[in-house]
Amino acid sequence: MNLLELKEVSKIYGTLKALNNIDLSVPKGEWLAIMGPSGSGKTTMMNIVGCMDKPSNGSVILDGVDISKENPRSLTAIRRDKIGLIFQQFHLINYLTALENVMVAQYYHSLPDEKEAMQALERVGLAGRAKHLPSQLSGGEQQRVCIARALINYPMLILADEPTGNLDEANENIVLDIFRQLHREGSTIVVVTHDPEVAEEAERIVVLEHGKIARIEDNHRGEQEEG
């Protein structure tokens, strides 16, 4: 069954069609990569899927709910309950420690649980840096905190925007390892990237160009179809 389904989705800013009639479905447990040059509509798509923006036309169905019809208040609730966001810029709150940054997500979701937050940090290998402030962490460590925060509420969908864009190779590998692990455990992952190496890890790669799906590459079945 499909966790996420986009039907004839368009997003228009003034005269610019950032997304033009997109149809896409993502089955549960899939690892999907979205690629494309700058301005191809990657970020717009990510925002729409992440419930941070609404399409101008079409419908987006996440876990059976058409999120394009929801009001901002329930969008917030859906984002909170079903989606884990990972950012290129990490976006940690700079006056909170690593542990507290993870706990913030728990706090807005339900109840903060320090033990569980600590386990999440252990999973990304940061148990020893839990009490550090973001400014005391390296870029890779910050991104791992960001991932731990995204995972803490067991989201149905993990949405990552250029998760390795600010990282060196060693850290990139650590982050990709975590993603592989998540994938094995059955998480649905959507990664927006323009790094082919990162995209290669995914099961399917959607290539966007000028707001349209140019092609979809299926890594494991080796098939190609026109979008």
Binding site: H91, N94, S135, G139, N166
Partner: protein
């Protein structure tokens, strides 16, 4: 490029910059209003204190002050114990003429009331007298203005009503006189029938007196054109060491000190100048009024100075705080500028110029708004406009300049200490 960048910052960050300008305007208006009010409060309170009445008493030289206690003057009526009514206009021609608010002459005499044996005091005065000065000016002066604390039942009389009188409450009580009654008084020079227009209560010795227009008293006492004393109400500067020494003996001052003293509105200097123009007169400050006025004036001014200082500090901290906050906010932008190779100096100049431009805008707006506030205070408290002092402009300008500068410096230092990499990597 510098200007382009600044234009960008000013125009595209309109909201933020306007908020800075707005806060500076608030601070500047506060400073303007407070400074203007503070500088003018002395004059205003001085005017208010005139309700206490005369602060200078002018009497003939060598007049025995014991007269009224024993009634010994009636036989020794030599003319040099009186002042000339015709000379009174000269009081408005002295150096500090402008500070003379009001004056009223009095001629005291004793009369018998309704044929009783006992003497009562009768005083002739100007109630509201129109006077044409030799200088061509004219003024209205007299007792109505100077005794506005009187509690009068009935009406004040005018100088023209030569068959009317006002009677003190104690005297009226003793003789059962009410407004509207007719009394007859007899002086040395005949008898007169007067209608009582008003009974006044002052809580002082005056409650035993009958007041009539000056002309009536002069007729009754046979002292045409003469007055026995003049009360003067003048705006004065609080006494200091110099004026106290001068009051003791003006001749003890050096020429320079004497000039300072003579050209300052000390009560002693004004008294001295009155003595110069009225023949054979002694002008004495009424210490009860003069001293207290000085004390209250001084306190009020000091109070206003301190409140002004507090609000200036408040305004200064408010402005520099906001400037600090809004400059710090731009750490990312500054980091970027540094990353593309900007030196510290042009960055500081950019930020400073922006802020100072906003300071100028806010300062100008604030100055005029402050004038408005000052006038609101002036009109609602004193019922008159506050004098606008030009010296406030440079004061406020310097204040705003220094304060915005002081507010920017710590934040600029903070910005310069930033390392571009850290800022851009979102720490």
């Amino acid at each position: 490029m510098f200007f382009r960048m600044m234009n960008g910052a000013l125009l595209r960050q309109k909201g933020k910059m306007l908020m800075i300008a707005f806060t500076i305007a608030l601070g500047a208006s506060l400073a303007t209003a407070m400074l203007n009010v503070m500088l003018d409060v002395g004059d205003k309170i001085n005017q208010e204190l005139k309700t206490y009445g005369a602060n200078i008493n002018v009497v003939p030289k060598e007049a025995s002050l014991l007269d009224d206690l024993y009634g010994v003057d009636e036989r020794s009526g030599v003319s040099n114990k009186y002042l000339q009514e015709s000379e009174l206009g000269r009081i408005k021609t002295i150096f500090w003429a402008f500070n003379i608010v009001d004056f009223a002459p009095f001629l005291d005499t004793k009369v018998t009331l309704n044929g009783a044996v006992e003497n009562v005091e009768l005083a002739g005065t100007w109630f509201s007298h129109h006077l044409d000065l030799p200088t061509g000016e004219s003024l209205d002066t007299g007792m109505i203005n100077m005794k506005n604390w009187w509690d009068v039942s009935g009406d004040w009389i005018t100088d023209a009503e030569e068959d009317s009188a006002m009677v003190g409450s104690l005297l009226a009580g003793r003789h059962q006189i009410a407004p509207g009654d007719v009394i007859s008084v007899a002086g040395k020079n005949g008898q007169k029938t007067l209608t009582v227009k008003g009974v006044f209560n002052t809580g002082s010795d005056e409650d035993e007196l009958i007041y009539v227009p000056l002309k009536v008293a002069q007729d009754l006492a046979d002292r045409a054109g003469l007055v026995s004393r003049v009360e003067v109400s003048a705006l004065t500067t609080p006494d200091n060491e110099l004026s106290r020494r001068a009051a003791q003996n003006p001749k003890s001052l050096s020429i320079k000190e004497w000039e300072t003293w003579y050209c300052t509105a000390y009560v002693s200097a004004i008294s001295y100048q009155i003595q110069e123009v009225i023949t054979d007169s002694v002008a004495k400050p009424i210490r009860q009024v003069a001293e207290s006025e000085g004390a209250i004036l001084e306190k009020t001014q000091l109070l206003m100075v301190l409140i002004t200082i507090l609000s200036l500090i408040g305004a200064a901290l408010g402005i520099s705080n906001l400037v600090t906050a809004s400059v710090m906010e731009r750490s990312r932008e500054i980091g970027l500028l540094k990353a593309v190779g900007a030196n510290d100096f042009p960055i500081s100049m950019l930020v400073l110029t922006e802020i100072l431009l906003m300071g100028l805008l806010g300062g100008v707006i604030g100055y005029f708004a402050g004038l408005g506030f000052a006038q609101i205070i002036g009109h609602s408290v004193f019922g008159s406009a506050i004098d606008i002092k030009p010296m406030v402009i440079p004061l406020v300008a310097v204040l705003v300049f220094l304060v915005t500068l002081a507010g920017s410096i710590p934040s600029i230092r903070f910005l310069l200490s930033l390392r571009p990499a850290e800022v851009l990597h979102g720490r």
